[in-house]
């Protein structure tokens, strides 16, 4: 079934589009909204957004594939994004990534079978003062070690 936005979201979309002199410019906020609503951006969602903005789906695809934070596949309930940049790597991010891989039995870019976790490696998330660090959905977790990771993951429903 092709996705549809609820009436409430449609109102929000109208409000966003009104902010820009050209409709097309609302593409990024709309894609964020789409991801928030459906969890990821499917080809059908691309067509939905293109229809609202009066552009061709190919233009939406160009934007979606450009930004790595827009997911084109469904992801788990918790999206674990481990920083792989300099400060974190110096403080053992690689070993922690290996630990996460083993613990969740998935590789970076994959989602666990129970659809609970998705593991990703990302560039600097701007929290070097608490390296090594990771984000789970929109929450920061810093100064990580194996024990702390266990505790955090155990606390997730």
């Amino acid at each position: 079934m092709s996705p549809e936005f609820s009436g409430k979201v449609r109102k929000e979309i109208d409000r966003i589009i009104a902010r820009y002199p050209q409709k097309e410019a609302a593409i990024l906020p709309l894609l964020h909204l789409t991801q928030q609503e459906f969890g990821f951006i499917s080809p059908e969602s691309e067509k939905l957004v293109a229809g609202i903005l009066g552009i061709k789906p190919i233009q939406v695809r160009e934007v979606v594939t450009f930004y790595t934070m827009l997911n084109r596949e469904p992801i788990g309930k918790y999206h674990i994004q481990v920083c792989s940049n300099l400060s974190c790597s110096l403080l053992g991010a690689e070993k922690l990534t290996d630990y996460l891989k083993e613990k969740l039995s998935i590789e970076p870019g994959q989602t666990s079978e129970d659809k609970k976790f998705t593991l990703s490696l990302v560039e600097c998330i701007g929290a070097c003062e608490q390296a090594p660090c990771m984000m789970i959905n929109f929450d920061y977790h810093g100064n990580l070690d194996k024990k702390k990771i266990d505790k955090i993951l155990d606390g997730l429903e």
Binding site: P43, K56, I58, E62, T65
Partner: protein, 518 residues
């Protein structure tokens, strides 16, 4: 107007001109790959960097506008160094497969590297492996490795055809041009993509691996396949016989003409060139058993003259039928009008043309013939040929072209023609129709003769011969001028016509439309 200096050369240019265009007017060419006159500057290839006095960094010539007093240097040490660097990056992922690349020889990247290259890359990493023969359209092959991401193709489909079949996906090193969900490039202008690709990323299956570009000669011509009359370049291999035709045509490219077709031509005109060589007639064909020699044009013209003289004055005008078409040039139609309408007073002149077809909303017109406007302005009333036109009372039929078969059914035509005593056909191709005529004369096609055509908007465009016609084929204007001389009315007048240009001058004298259009 502003005054600027490019490479110390003073130039006056219009305000708002870009440095690249200003340099062009001064005859200085600045290397560029992504910039194309048809589109606004893109600034992605960085090839056009130039030094501008007073500015700390090199600037893009394609997007920087001139300012009064600007001093631009296009060949300074800094600029040449930058070009080397830019080329090094462009070639970081570009395969060095020029020996098997169709674009080699007219590839700008290749040319620039030859001029500014480092020749020894500092990259030690191996190149990315990518898709090398992705079929993205009915005749288009995309090589992702060769693509330099100039986006000319994407912009063409976005701005000119507005069909947007191609986009740039992913980013950074992973960026690639591709179609959307396997929906191929499908429009009547797709062939232009292979032509505007500055490298060999998009190549044309119709041309792929058939020859090397440096073997080809180029000739300027006009596309005769619809009434737009787009400017084209015919690329051919002289001395490479093809179906008995002395020059083999390998491809048709569009040629810039802002008054008619801009930079583009449609796929019908681009790929529809097989008619230039296939099924060409190259000898005079005689189907009348009374002739037992292979005649020359001299013999045939003498014969036509005799036949016409045989009919007495009263009968001549009513019993001779002329069937024309609008592939004939202005010059040829003028001669026909003069000789047969003015001198011989013929009334029964009809036209048989290729039928109209669907037009598109860009260049392709419904009229699939190049000179209908010219025929109208020449004063023909353009009655279509029909079985009634060839009534019992016809003694002599002179027909041009093979489109009669498309307007009258084969059975009707056969029946009508059987009753006519003498039938002469001027045509360029072998056709079933030919066997119904007593004499069939081979004629030259547009690229094989000179003349002019009047397009749908009334623009008169001259064309010159690109290559020789096959065998004994002759341009119609030559045969017509000869007939005019032989018929004996105004002989000296026709004797003047040695070239299409001399005829064109006479048209201007006699037909106001052609004088005014000039």
């Amino acid at each position: 107007m502003v005054k600027i200096h490019i490479d110390k050369k003073p130039i006056d240019v219009e305000e708002g001109t870009t440095v690249l265009k200003a340099a062009e007017t001064a005859g200085i060419s600045i290397p560029h790959l992504c910039y194309h006159d048809a589109f606004p500057p893109e600034g992605s290839c960085r090839m056009c960097l130039v030094e501008i006095e007073g500015l700390p960094k090199l600037e893009l010539a394609c997007s920087t506008q001139v300012r009064d007093g600007m001093k631009v240097f296009t060949k300074s040490e800094k600029v040449v160094e930058a070009r080397k660097g830019v080329l090094e990056f462009l070639l970081a992922e570009h395969p060095l497969d020029c020996p098997i690349c169709d674009k080699a020889g007219d590839c700008k990247l290749q040319d620039y590297y030859d001029e500014y290259g480092l020749f020894e890359s500092q990259f030690r990493e191996s190149k990315e492996k990518r898709e090398k023969k992705d079929k993205i359209g009915k005749s288009l092959i995309h090589d992702e490795e060769r693509c330099i991401l100039c986006r000319r193709c994407v912009r063409f489909l976005r701005e000119i055809t507005e069909t947007q079949e191609l986009g740039v996906f992913e980013r950074g090193i992973h960026s690639r041009v591709n179609i959307y969900d396997l929906t191929p490039v499908d429009n009547n202008y797709s062939g232009n993509l292979a032509q505007i690709c500055p490298v060999g990323a998009i190549t044309d299956e119709d041309f792929r691996f058939k020859t090397r570009s440096w073997f080809l000669k180029k000739g300027e011509s006009i596309c005769p396949l619809c009434s737009r009359g787009c400017s084209i370049t015919i690329e051919y291999h002289p001395g490479f016989s093809h179906f008995g035709v002395p020059s083999r045509v390998y491809r048709i490219q569009s040629r810039e003409n802002q008054e008619v077709n801009g930079f583009w031509i449609c796929d019908m005109g681009r790929y529809g060139y097989s008619y230039l060589s296939e099924n060409r007639l190259d000898k005079i064909v005689i189907n009348n058993k009374e002739w037992n020699i292979q005649p020359t044009w001299e013999d045939v013209s003498y014969f036509i003259n005799q036949q016409l003289k045989k009919l007495d004055e009263g009968k001549k005008t009513s019993q001779t039928v002329l069937i024309l078409n609008t592939w004939l040039s202005n010059e040829e139609l003028f001669l026909i009008h003069k000789i047969f309408k003015n001198d011989q007073n013929l009334e029964r002149i009809f036209f048989a043309d290729r039928p109209q077809a669907e037009k598109d909303d860009f260049l392709l017109t419904a009229e699939r013939t190049p000179n209908k406007k010219g025929a109208l302005e020449m004063g023909f009333d353009m009655k279509p040929a029909n079985p009634g036109a060839l009534s019992d009372k016809t003694d002599l039929l002179l027909a041009f072209g093979s489109f009669l078969a498309e307007q009258i059914s084969a059975a009707d035509l056969k029946k009508a023609l059987e009753k006519i005593e003498t039938k002469v056909l001027f045509t360029s191709h072998e056709n079933e129709l030919n066997s119904l005529f007593d004499i069939v004369l081979p004629t030259a096609l547009i690229p094989e003769k000179g003349g002019s055509l009047t397009n749908i908007d009334g623009k008169i465009q001259k064309f010159s011969p690109v290559f020789e016609p096959p065998g004994d084929s002759l341009p119609e204007w030559m045969m017509l001028a000869d007939l005019g001389r032989k018929f004996g009315i105004n002989s000296s007048f026709y004797g003047e016509f040695k070239t299409p240009e001399t005829i064109a001058k006479e048209i201007e004298n006699e037909v106001p439309f052609f004088r005014e259009q000039k």
